[in-house]
Symmetry: D2
Subunit: 345 residues, 4 copies
Amino acid sequence: MRFASDNSGPVHPRVMEALVAANEGWALPYGNDDWTRNAADKVREVFEAPDAAVYFTATGTSANVILLSTLTQGTQTIFCTPEAHIHVDECNAPEFYTGGAKLTLVEAEHGRMLPKALRAEIQTLREGGVHSPQPATLSLTQVTESGTVYTLSALKSLVDVAKDAGLSVHLDGARFSNALVALGVTAAEMSWKLGIDAVSFGGTKNGLMGVEAAVIFDPEKAWEFELRRKRGGHLFSKNRYLGAQFGAYLTDDLWLEMARTANRSAARLEQGLAGVAKVTHPRDANMIFAELSRDRHQRLNAAGAQYQVFGSLDGVADEPLPCRLVCDWSITEAQIDRFVEIAQG
Amino acid sequence: MRFASDNSGPVHPRVMEALVAANEGWALPYGNDDWTRNAADKVREVFEAPDAAVYFTATGTSANVILLSTLTQGTQTIFCTPEAHIHVDECNAPEFYTGGAKLTLVEAEHGRMLPKALRAEIQTLREGGVHSPQPATLSLTQVTESGTVYTLSALKSLVDVAKDAGLSVHLDGARFSNALVALGVTAAEMSWKLGIDAVSFGGTKNGLMGVEAAVIFDPEKAWEFELRRKRGGHLFSKNRYLGAQFGAYLTDDLWLEMARTANRSAARLEQGLAGVAKVTHPRDANMIFAELSRDRHQRLNAAGAQYQVFGSLDGVADEPLPCRLVCDWSITEAQIDRFVEIAQG
Amino acid sequence: MRFASDNSGPVHPRVMEALVAANEGWALPYGNDDWTRNAADKVREVFEAPDAAVYFTATGTSANVILLSTLTQGTQTIFCTPEAHIHVDECNAPEFYTGGAKLTLVEAEHGRMLPKALRAEIQTLREGGVHSPQPATLSLTQVTESGTVYTLSALKSLVDVAKDAGLSVHLDGARFSNALVALGVTAAEMSWKLGIDAVSFGGTKNGLMGVEAAVIFDPEKAWEFELRRKRGGHLFSKNRYLGAQFGAYLTDDLWLEMARTANRSAARLEQGLAGVAKVTHPRDANMIFAELSRDRHQRLNAAGAQYQVFGSLDGVADEPLPCRLVCDWSITEAQIDRFVEIAQG
Amino acid sequence: MRFASDNSGPVHPRVMEALVAANEGWALPYGNDDWTRNAADKVREVFEAPDAAVYFTATGTSANVILLSTLTQGTQTIFCTPEAHIHVDECNAPEFYTGGAKLTLVEAEHGRMLPKALRAEIQTLREGGVHSPQPATLSLTQVTESGTVYTLSALKSLVDVAKDAGLSVHLDGARFSNALVALGVTAAEMSWKLGIDAVSFGGTKNGLMGVEAAVIFDPEKAWEFELRRKRGGHLFSKNRYLGAQFGAYLTDDLWLEMARTANRSAARLEQGLAGVAKVTHPRDANMIFAELSRDRHQRLNAAGAQYQVFGSLDGVADEPLPCRLVCDWSITEAQIDRFVEIAQG
C-alpha cells in the first residue's frame, strides 16, 4: 500500500529492457549518440514542434531550474504559487541557478494561480522601477501541487496575462502526462499553442528511472540552456542511457498508458474512500488530498500503508487529519482495495 | 513642502563642517585612519558594546545585505515581513549577496511581524528537511516600513522565537534614531540586550550625506563582514570621509536631536491634518500613512507639495486616496503649516 | 578502435544485472533505501573510514563541485593546476557552486602540482589581506589530467603545504581506481591517511552508467553537502539505481579488476607504439599522451580510429602531432593490436 | 613623504567647495537631481559621446564590477592580465557580480597584455565548446598596474583581437586621466574610437573623495547597469554629492591639471632617483616601479617615508629590493626632493 509518492516505484520493464538493449558497444559522449537523438526527435513529434530544443536531465529540479535560469536573470523575478514545487521543495535551487532571482508568490485556489492576482503582482513590481526585481517569468505547474489540473482555458488566461506583460512562461510538468490524459488534449495544445515557452516534461514520476525532458520551443535559447546544464553538472557523458529511457517512454504510448493507469487508480481510490474521506481539492489526476479521521489513519498506519499525513497520529480519534495519497503506474488494484477496506474499517 | 522621503534633504551643517575639517593631509586608506577609528569607538560607546565590530558603508542597502550575508548562506532563508525594505526595495540585493538565500515572508500588522506567524513559518520549513531552505536569520525593521515602532517587549517576543529556533537576528535600523527617541530607550536596550546580533544603524535618512554603521556584536564575525564588504565593492579607500560624518553625527547628540526634530515635525503634521486625514497606521515616529480625499491631494499637488500618493490623482473628488508623508530633520514648521493649511483648505 | 575517452564505453554487465535486480517493488526515495545504504557502507569499508559521509551523484562535475562548495566560500580560492578538469572542463561549475570563489592556478609538471609553487601562491594571497581571495581549498587530481599518477609521497608533500596553511584538500578521483592499482596502495592510504578531506571517487569512467561517490571524512560537513546536492538538483528520488550500480562496482573487486584491465591495455598500447610514438608525459595509468607523425594520424583516422588529435590532420606528412589515447575496461586486445598495426604501418 | 598610493591624499579644495555649495535644500533622490545630470552631461562632452550612459559610483571596484557584470554572464569569461586589479585586488568581486564568470589570465609584459597571447587564449576556449567558459569580455587597465601606459595603437591591436572574436571591451581607467595626459590624446580617442565599450573613469585616485564615472557607449545596456548598481547596493539616495564632485572635477580642466601634476611629480622623482634606483617598468605616468638597495629603503623608512616595499627591510645592506612609488596631485616638490635626498644619501 504505497501511496506516499509517485517517485518511489519501480521502472517499467519496457524501459529497463531499453536500457539493457542500449548497453552495446561504444557511443559518442555528451548526447551525441543515436539514443539521445532518437528520443529528442520523439519529443519533438509528440509536441508537434520540429524546431524545439530538447534535452534530458536526470531530476525534476534540474529540468526546472536550468530552464528557469535560461529564461530569468538574477535581477528579475519568477511568479509562482505559494505551493509551487520550485518554491517549497527545491531548497533555493531556482534562486541559485538564476543568480539570485526572486520567487514572487501569487495567490492560488486549489493550487491553481489566479490570473487577477498575477496581474496585480506584476503591476506592483513594475511601479517599483529599479528598486524592484523585474518581472521576467511565469512558472505554472500542471498537474498542480494540489493535485488539480488547469483546463486549457485556465492556462490560457494566465499565459495571456504573462505575455501581455512581456514575460516568458515555464511549465513544471513533473506530471505532464497525467494532466494530458486527464484533459484528453495534445502536448502541443497544452504548451506552445497556448504561448508556453518551455516545459519540464516529466518521466521520473511516471515509470522512468530518472529522466525529464526539458523542452524549449524557441531554439535560439538552446545554447544558453546547454551552458547552464553543463555548469550545473547535469551534462551526462553516457547520455545514451537517458535517451534510451525516454525513447522507450514515448514508444507505443507507454507514457500515456502509465499515466492513464495512475489516474484510473486514483479515481478508484477516491471512489473507494467515499463516505469516509472528505476530498479537499478536486481530484483531477493521480493525487488525492483528503481528510480522514485520525483513527482511520491509525489503522492504515498499523497495517503498513505508506502515505503523507499532515499532523500527529496521536490525539482525538475522530478528529479529521489531512493527508495526501498518490498513485503511480505500478500500484495494483489489490493494494488500492485493501487500503479502502482498512480505511472504511 | 518636501515630504516624499527623508533621503533627500541636505546634510546637517555640523556634518559638513566635519567633512571639511577632515580634508587635511594624508590618511591611511581602507579605514585605517583616525576618523574611522574615532567614529567606530563612538558607535561602541552609544551601544555600550566595547567588543562590537563596527563598519561604515555608504548606503542602507549595502549595510543590510553585507550584514545579512555575513549571517546567512545560500541554502538558507531570512524571515521578514511582506513590506520589508529588503524584500520590496532592494532589487534582490539580499538574494544576491547571500548567494541565493530565500526571503520567507511572515505575516505582519501595521508593519510589525507577528511572533506566532514567525514560529509557524520556521516550523513548516524545519519539517521540509533538505528540501526546504534552512531557517537562518530574522530581519526586523525598526522604525517599520509602515511607520510604526515596535515596543521593546514586542521586539523581545520576536527575538525569542528566533533564538529558540537557533536563528540570528538582524535589525534594519535605517530609522534607528527615530525609533530610539520615540521609545525613549538606549541603543543597547533596543539591540543586543534583546538578543539582536547585528544592526544597520542609519545615518543617511537622518542628516548625513550617505553613511550607515553596520554593527555586529559578536566580533568573531567581523572578518567575514570585511570580506563581503570588499567583495561587494563597498570598501572605501578614503574611508575617513565616512568616519568624519559619523563622528559628527554622534557628537553632542546631533543624531538624537535630528531624530527628535523629525518625529516632532511628523507629530505636528499629523495633528494639523486631524479631521481631514485618516491615519491608517499608528504614527510612531517620523512617517505618516494616511488617507486624504483626492481633491485635497490635487490641491497639494498643484501647490507643489512633494510626497507619495498611492493611486491616480484623476478621479472622483472626495474618494480617499492613501499617501505617505515623511519628515526629515530639515523640514520647517512653516512648510508643515503651509501643507496643513492647503490640505485643510 | 575507441581511444577517445573512458566515458563512452558500455556499462559492465555485472552492473547492468545489479540494476535489473534492483528494479523490484517500491523503495523509499532520496537515498533512504537499502541499495544506497549498502553501497555507502561498502565505500566506507573500502576507505576504512567508518564515520565518513558518502553520497552518490551521477556526474563527475557534480561530485567535484558539491564537495568543493562544501569546503569553499565565495570570498575564497581553490588551488589547482592549469590543466585541472575543474578549471578547464566544467564551464565555471566550481565558481558557480561556490558562489564566485576563484581558482588560483599553480604551476605543474606533467600535470602534477609543484609544492613550492603552491606555497608561494598561498603566501602571495595571504599578503593581500582583505583584497585577495582567501586561501581555502587545494584540489588535486589523481590520475592527473596528463595521465600521470602522484606517488603517495608527492601527494603528501602537497597536502602538507595545504594543511600548514589551514586549507582543506579535495581529490578529484575521476580515475581514482586506475591510480590505486597503478600504485598498489589502499584507498585509505591514498586519501585520509595523507590528510585529504574529501574525494570524488569515480565510477562513470570505469564501467558504470553514471555514478560517482562523494566521500567526506569529517561527518560534520555531511549536512552542508546534502543541502548543496539538493540545491544543485542532484538529489535523486529513485536513488536506489545509483546505489545498486556502486554496490556492484565494489563487489568482488569489480572496480579494481576494470581499472587493472584499463591500465594494462594502455601499457600494451604504449608498448606497441614504441618506435613510432614519442610519449610526452609518463604513462602511469590508462591514458597516453604522445606525438605521432601526421601521416600515421591520417592512416589511423582513415581506418576509423577514434581519439583526440591536437592540431589539423592536413599538413606536412612527417610533422609530429600530439594526441591523447585513453583505454577503458572494455577495449579489446584486438582493437589495441589493430591500432598499433596501422600506426606502425 | 607619502608615496604609498594615490588613494590617500586629501580632496582638492575646489571639489570640497562644490560639495558645500551643493548642500542646499532638497533634491530628488537616486540621481534625479541637477548635479548628477550636469556631471553626466560633462562626462558625455569630455568623451564626445552624446548618447553614452553615464553613472557615478563611489569606489573603483564597484564601477569595474557593475560594468563587467553588465557585459558578462556567469557561464562566460573575462580576459585580463595576471596583474589586473580586478584579478588581484578585488576579493572575487568580478566573479561575485557576474554570478561566477571566470577571469582568464593573459600573458603581459610590463603590465601590458600581449595581443598574440589574447588570441591564443580565446582560441583555446572556443575549442572547448560547452565545457569551457565562453569568451565574453576583455578588460584592460590604463594606466596599467605596472605603471605603464598603452599607446593608442597598442590598445587598438588588443581591441581588434577582441572585436574579431565578438568580445566586449572594458577599460579599467582608475588612472584614466594620468594616461590621457601622458599620451596627449582625447578621451574619445582612448575609448570608443578604438572600439572600447565601457570605461571606469576614475576620480578617487585623482583628487575626489570617492567617485568614479561608469561610462557605457551603447545606451541600450544602460538599464542592465542600473539594475546591477541597485542590486549591488551602489545606488545612492543622495546622489547629488557624487554628481557635485564629478562636476567640479570636469570644470576648468581640474581633472587634467591634477593628473598632469601627479605625472610631473613622478617624473621629478624618477629623475632624482637616477643612479640609485633601477626602474623595472617604464615610468609612463604617476607610478614608479624600481629597485633600491636595502640600506636606502632602511634610511627612507627611518625618515618616515611611506611607500610599498616588496620584501623584508632586514637583510644584506646592498641587496636590491623592489618597491612602488606613487605620486598623487597633492604631493609637493619639497616632499619629493627630501625623499630623493635621503635615497641618494
